[in-house]
Assembly symmetry: C2
Homo-oligomer: 721 residues x 2
Amino acid sequence: MRYSIANTKTTILLLVLLMSSARLYAEDGYDLWLRYKTVTDGKLLLAYRNTISTITVAGESATLLAAKEELQNGLKGLLGKNIPVKNLLHNGSLLAGTASQSAVTRQYISKEEMASAGGEGFIIRSVNHQGKNIIIITANNDIGVLYGCFHFLRLLQTRQSISKLAIVSAPTLQLRLLNHWDNLDRYVERGYAGISIWNWHTLPDYIDPRYIDYARANASIGINGVSLTNVNANAMVLTESYLKKVAVLANIFRPYGIKVYLTARFSAPIEIGKLRTADPLNDTVQKWWNDKAKEIYKWIPDFGGFLVKANSEGQPGPQNYGRDHADGANMLADAVAPYKGIVMWRAFVYSQQSDDRFKQAYAEFKPLDGKFRKNVLVQVKNGPIDFQPREPFSPLFGAMEQTSLLMEFQITQEYLGQATHLVYEAPMFKEVLGTDTYAKGKGSTVAKVIDGSLYHNSLNGMTGVSNIGNDRNWTGHPFGQANWYALGRLAWDYNLSSEEIADEWIRETFSNDPSFVAATKKIMLLSHKALVNYMTPLGLNHLFGNGHHYGPAPWSNNLPRPDWNPVYFHKADSFGIGFDRTVTGTNALDQYAPEVREQYENLNTCDEKYLLWFHHVSWKHKMKSGRTLWDELCYYYYKGTEDIKKIEQQWHQLEKHIDKERFQHVRQLLSIQVKEAEWWRNACLLYFQTFSKIPFPAGYEKPDKSLEYYKSLNFPYAPGN
Amino acid sequence: MRYSIANTKTTILLLVLLMSSARLYAEDGYDLWLRYKTVTDGKLLLAYRNTISTITVAGESATLLAAKEELQNGLKGLLGKNIPVKNLLHNGSLLAGTASQSAVTRQYISKEEMASAGGEGFIIRSVNHQGKNIIIITANNDIGVLYGCFHFLRLLQTRQSISKLAIVSAPTLQLRLLNHWDNLDRYVERGYAGISIWNWHTLPDYIDPRYIDYARANASIGINGVSLTNVNANAMVLTESYLKKVAVLANIFRPYGIKVYLTARFSAPIEIGKLRTADPLNDTVQKWWNDKAKEIYKWIPDFGGFLVKANSEGQPGPQNYGRDHADGANMLADAVAPYKGIVMWRAFVYSQQSDDRFKQAYAEFKPLDGKFRKNVLVQVKNGPIDFQPREPFSPLFGAMEQTSLLMEFQITQEYLGQATHLVYEAPMFKEVLGTDTYAKGKGSTVAKVIDGSLYHNSLNGMTGVSNIGNDRNWTGHPFGQANWYALGRLAWDYNLSSEEIADEWIRETFSNDPSFVAATKKIMLLSHKALVNYMTPLGLNHLFGNGHHYGPAPWSNNLPRPDWNPVYFHKADSFGIGFDRTVTGTNALDQYAPEVREQYENLNTCDEKYLLWFHHVSWKHKMKSGRTLWDELCYYYYKGTEDIKKIEQQWHQLEKHIDKERFQHVRQLLSIQVKEAEWWRNACLLYFQTFSKIPFPAGYEKPDKSLEYYKSLNFPYAPGN
């Protein structure tokens, strides 16, 4: 050859990859968890084939057509043969349709049973009908039938028995949403998987087949609404030329039970309406929004409603006119109410005037409880700050008796290693949902707040800030798909365990090989804990690089607002580290119910995973482990890093079980993750050591770079900023 | 179903698309022209199978390994069976390798014949060796062998006979390049196919398999160098953290014969070197560049060199220090000369001080002829303005006797409908290459200038500004792939006709069905002419929307520089339209050789396709057709629009011949193109009519919108700006 190879290690890797080039059909991750590879267990395949012979769909709506297509394609793949669609029932028929459309279904499933499925749930039942074994997939509405069909395919994908099915499933939450933070120029704020899948420029004329596959994926996990645009909103999306584009997406999503929502920029009446004010109590402004709603519903008859970020991080809002959040939300709510639209009003606010960013949302919203219209939900981030690797629950959960709350989780990994770290988020979601707010005594979990059962709110739901982009595999990291999946599955049924969801997803996405499933599940279930430890153990938070939030910068102190700077959050000094939110500090703990407050305010009862969230603690403080705080901090930073190395090694063992494309993709990303875990550990410990002045405990390998080196790094083109 | 369908037309389309959802292996265009589908003509398949039995590759370099992989994968696909790799020759062996590695090859191919292949060319020869029919693919260097293997596969892809092969092929140009205008944040200036395929953030650790497929695609058409970064350059790419990333790409591309180039920001010594000046005659600055070159070559031993845009559109350059382009280029050339690097210095300059933007490049560069180092090429855009749909050739071609010139074409369709218009650019490239400059008398074509034969320059080549992005199909429009392909093929052999190249590409990319090939070729060969007519007929140019260049805005006159405004270029008034560049005007024609000047300056001999480039012509001027200029303008605007409608209808006839995914993609884009052609026609004619005051000729359908409507449109989020 003509050129020398500059880097042997890279070359070897290249050669490995070369082997897979020119492949005809690579496993590129595009199919998500909707892979319908033929069952390889011959006995099981035979059993499935013997159980399913034909498909009968009772009805012809677009939703049922989608269900039929999915069953045909899915079964063709899974069973390795065409399953014909027939009008008459045979032995082995799958009968899909609402009860109202099928006398056979009504014969076997009572009205009471049907009622238990609710508006969106489904029933799957094996019955013997006139000597023929058939499987009924039914629901009260077509969308439930579609959900049931996806569930039925999931049974096969996860190799479950389908011989005696008696399943009733109904969602625990009404609103099961994704929020895209996508700009009209396709830039995705906090996006790490390419640019927006919404190609506004070629809409409404060009329909990317991806839009349909997006709808399929969401329907398969029960997502029933998507907000298309960034909460840092652009009023242009509310103009006719964009509404035409939105209408096409709404048309595509409709058969899949997905409503479209848009973010409403509060100053839109000024920017696109040529008004001089956006005061929510001004008649002209109200009329403008009423007219705008009417226009929107002309284009999109089932438009879901508005999502609003107002008076937050520079966004305009009612406070610009001396009004409050309820004034603003209610104006919009009144505009969409005639069309059954809703308003999701975000509670993510903080103020420079406050002594503690933690307290601001509660301070602004608690007094407004009871003032919001019935079709308003206040959308609350899981924690009081901002999607940190681990946060205690937001004190608004439990505090708003008369207000419907919508849980906002962040699927995209803004503070979780972005798209290069393998982090399974279900345990983080579950931890919040399972926490007891004690709002109405013991057992008042966050889940019961947001499902409306605690206070009997009219609306309820959960949303996830999307991690989706135009990367071929949608989410950048192949395991990012699991977080999209988990959000949907938990919104459908928050009682599912992290392990159950991981089990399903692994089987659907990669392989049903028992040793692969077990090992991968172990990796996933360890991953969030590992990340918390190598980034922000013991209740540390917001140590991230300015703006882009890529990598550690606990030393950062040069942003114009104190509550944007890491030093504000960790408050390390020669005495110790942590944010005192007890009565001796900002007393933020007072925003919780007494039982919660008492637990956290006492150094002895405070769960150490939240320790530095609530206490400024001496470096020498004796932890439950017997170690000093400094030694414990070192212990966890090293443990997190070791755990991710272990994960890397475990993954290497799995090569033989899956396709080389996705194996290699994850393998390479894990090597980045290990490197970055060490970076986090070294940078944070070296920096905190400048305060503690205590050496690293014996036995730990010392950082190979200096603090100055870590401080010198900068990343002007880190994505998603 | 639960929801009404808002838009029936869209719904029908959706249903069509739904049919193709959940497909297992969609034709998504990712494979480009490297599709190796099995030959369906049974007789031909048998003939191919009988001719090819085994593969023997003499040598083990990374390049030959790539050749072997490509042959194996390609033949497996094309022949529908595995072709084994063997050490011994059999009847039907393919023997690939350099002559120096194969005694058998030397036995059949003489040194003289080998010499004719040159450094990068190849020879493919059928011989009978000891009673066995074998096919030899050979070259003087491994890269030629790889090129030969791609060519051999192309023979099968295009269904040619391989029974008596005697092919010698060597490139007509040395440098066959792509220029990416990709920023470090992945934004692509003038990119219409998503964002950059270079994921700088995850390099050097994560290797996207796409990098390898990119290299394969380029090697298959002979591209041997790529400049990775935008000519509006960022000095950061020259820092160590980025050079490490660049080195990985260089390692990936090396086996495929592709060198990496970078754009050098002229002020880099200040921005990343902390110097106070970037004066090219300053010793410290020179040393800085020398050291930087040394550092780059440490990472990338075969680094190609620098591409520079200086003192152009706000970019810094030597003129900031009172020096000239030669001073700047030579400083960089001296820095890379020890490593055999080159400098490509762009001649795209224009000045507010000039009375005619057309003249500026010649004015600045002609006086410098002879002053550039031997390892400098001046990179000249094909025309004097800026990649307009049709331009006369730049007067620099032919004017620079002692300077190596590099032709810069723009593949990305900045002014050619961007990624939603089907425009085959080969005829445009060929038109320029075939034009006679008369620099050394008749026959001094532009092609002879840039291949170095006219003036015997030491370096020569052609580059194309890339249309590649992270869209799954690389180029947005499926037919955009043809332009990437055509640039490479013409750089290899500019004597290939547009039709030959289209024929190859259609067969490789879509189908060998004769009626499909013929119809698609017709569409492609008409497409550029149609676009010129519906956008800028008769020598009009630069009528594009400000900044983003999307759509028509001939009325635009509000940009701070006159030479950025459409009115500057068309100069329509009550008398007529066009830019007088004869002696009565700016006399730009004086920059051409007398023969060219004379031809263009005379209204009677000036080719009417360039008429308004050179003359300000009365609306009533009688054209060769007998029509007045105004009527002729109307005629062409309508003709272009009708032609694109015809193309749309022709495409509709082709549905049965190809996969529905790509058929539908093109179909939808053609409907956009028709709509936009009408927009162009209506907006331009209504606007020009405000000057001509003449009605549209009888028989033309009148625009359905007013000029005011067209003026009111704006596109703040048009891509690529």
